[in-house]
Amino acid sequence: MTIQAPPRELDRLEELWTDGLADAYDAYLAAVGHFDAAIQARLALAAALVEVGVRLQGLGGRAAPPTTLLMGDLCLSRGSRLLADNAPLSVQVAFARAIESLSSAAAASAPAPATRQLLLAALSTKP
């Protein structure tokens, strides 16, 4: 699948594209059909970045080494900026709550729902 988001959005993250980001993007792209066509690709990329970001960080598992954590942070922050610029407010809030839920479960060493399941639910939030 060809990405429809501007190249800026993959700056510094190009290597991640073949390392799981493209697959995640495809999965989320299939779930954003109910949004305006102009923002579908950006929303799918935002969700994919968040998923890959928390995986890189090791959230809920073993902590990533510092340099990998920073890549994870960049993924999360870019995903968050894409959402801020494109997503309806309800979706932005749902994404934030999903990360809050994942991180509070991680801090309490409690089981957490799968990240993709949480983010797909966030994308289906009604405006």
């Binding site: 090791g58 073993r62 960049l74 999360l76 968050s80 801020a84 991180s103 991680a106 801090a107 309490a108």
Partner: protein
């Protein structure tokens, strides 16, 4: 003589609240150059103490107070059948009163050259003995005040009220979070910090037709939470054991918890800002956060060519520090509905002040009276302008570069510090920071700021004119 109230919210039954930074800000804001600051508890269960902010020591003090005046030890004050006119909500707190009598209820601190006179390890504490509660301390300042840049009593009173709103909002947000997440963040927030970013949000949110102090406090607290979330991850990356005199989350609770705490408050702050319903504000802060993360990657990458060069330094600090200052200024104004030219000028102002602030921080790293460990930046190989200048110095540059290329133990850090001080690097960086601040002040000259220019100028100058 100038008087005011210092308000804070305690969050635990016994708590040592470090108020040093806020007192320093009070002295600076008032323009007191030389004189005294008098501080008095307005409560019979709040004391004052001057001691070291070391977490284990604070637990020792708490243990001492508990041993000397244990709770529930049969205090006559707690026998309500023998007292008259007691309110319905009178607490059982004989132990707290007895503990307070062991502490001071008032303190006088000397002020010289515009700053509190404190020893390297001294911090000022308000000691809560019967919390959590809303508390007030009375402050009087006397002595020689600078005539220029002094805020009016009315402006100071407004600022104190605004500061209190942010502290209350921070406490309120932390109160509802899960304990494993909230406890480490509360430790970091309560340890102080300069609160410059929230102050900039509050000031700039007073410029515009939709100005609302409560919404401003919400945004300011969210920005402060976001800033602290980035610090939690930074401390793991930099392997820092302490921040603001307290153990870091990574050092005390481990890196897994640090990642979770940072992520939680990153998400929560982002949500709180989004829920304010101002798309411009949400985008401005999100953009700054992305810039911070990208710059952090650059910063770590540059440690391989330590100490780096001037151009790389400014690229990194624009992202790591200045971007959030710019977003704080711009978002406050956007929230208040300020015109576009005002928002743009304030963003530029914030970026310049943030850059100057970081440069001043680099200089402070070499000062033994700052309260921080001298040479911490060198140990952690954090990019620093004085080091870059010293490494370029004709006389000592070679030795500086050779030392920085090797492993950095106490002896090497001490020697590099000596070499940096022997050059003109420190005054040069301070001078350049001052020039940036004046440039920032000029950014404000062409726009209407609803009378808030003096306060913004005061914050800008205080960002570089500091010793800690």
């Amino acid at each position: 003589m100038s008087g005011r109230r210092f308000i804070f919210e305690s969050t635990r039954p016994t708590e040592f609240v470090d108020i040093t930074d806020r007192l320093r800000e009070t002295v600076r804001g008032a323009g007191l150059r030389n004189g005294r600051l008098h501080l008095q508890s307005l409560h019979t269960t709040v004391g004052l103490a001057l001691n070291e902010n070391e977490p284990l020591l604070l637990r020792d003090f708490q243990g001492l107070l508990e041993r000397l005046a244990p709770a529930g030890a049969g205090y006559e004050h707690d026998d309500f059948t023998r007292r008259f006119d007691i309110p319905l909500d009178e607490p059982v707190n004989g132990h707290a009163h007895c503990r307070q009598i062991l502490l001071n209820a008032f303190a006088t601190l000397m002020v010289e050259d515009g700053d509190l006179v404190l020893g390297r390890w001294q911090s000022v504490f308000a000691v809560e003995l019967d919390g959590p509660r809303h508390r007030e301390l009375a402050i009087q300042l006397e002595g020689e005040f600078a005539s220029q840049g002094r805020e009016s009593a009315e402006a100071l009173s407004r600022r104190d009220a605004a500061d209190s709103l942010v502290e209350i909002e921070l406490a309120r947000q932390l109160m509802v979070d899960p304990e494993p997440i909230a406890t480490p963040m509360r430790r970091l927030i309560e340890a102080g910090g300069k609160r410059l970013r929230p102050r900039l949000v509050q000031l700039t949110s007073g410029i515009g037709p939709d100005s609302d102090p409560l919404r401003a406090a919400e945004l300011a607290a969210a920005v402060e939470l976001l800033h602290n979330a980035t610090l939690v991850h930074d401390d793991y990356v930099d392997e820092s054991t302490h921040r603001r005199g307290r153990p870091t989350v990574a050092a005390l609770e481990g890196p897994e918890r640090a990642i979770a705490v940072g992520d939680y408050y990153f998400a929560k702050a982002t949500r709180l800002i989004a829920q304010m319903g101002n798309a411009g504000v949400t985008s401005a802060v999100a953009e700054a956060l992305e810039a911070i993360c990208a710059a952090q990657i650059d910063d770590v990458a540059l440690r391989g060519t330590y100490p780096g060069d001037r151009e790389s330094y400014f690229r990194v600090i624009r992202g790591k520090t200045a971007s959030l200052f710019a977003a704080a200024c711009g978002s406050g104004a956007l929230l208040a509905g300020a015109p576009g030219d005002v928002v743009a000028a304030l963003k530029r102002f914030g970026e310049l002040v943030g850059t100057a602030f970081q440069m001043a921080d680099d200089v402070i790293d070499f000062s033994p009276s700052s309260g921080k460990t001298v040479g911490l930046d060198i140990r952690q190989r954090v990019i620093s302008l004085p080091l870059i200048y010293a490494a370029e110095d004709r006389a000592v540059g070679g030795e500086v570069r050779r030392l920085l290329a090797g492993s950095l133990g106490d002896a090497e850090v001490g020697r590099v510090t000596e070499l940096v001080k022997s050059t003109d690097a420190l005054p040069r960086v301070r001078e350049e920071a001052t020039v940036l601040v004046e440039e920032a002040v000029r950014e404000l000259s062409a726009v209407e700021l609803d009378g808030l220019r003096p306060a913004l100028v005061g914050v800008a100058r205080a960002a570089v004119d500091r010793t800690s």
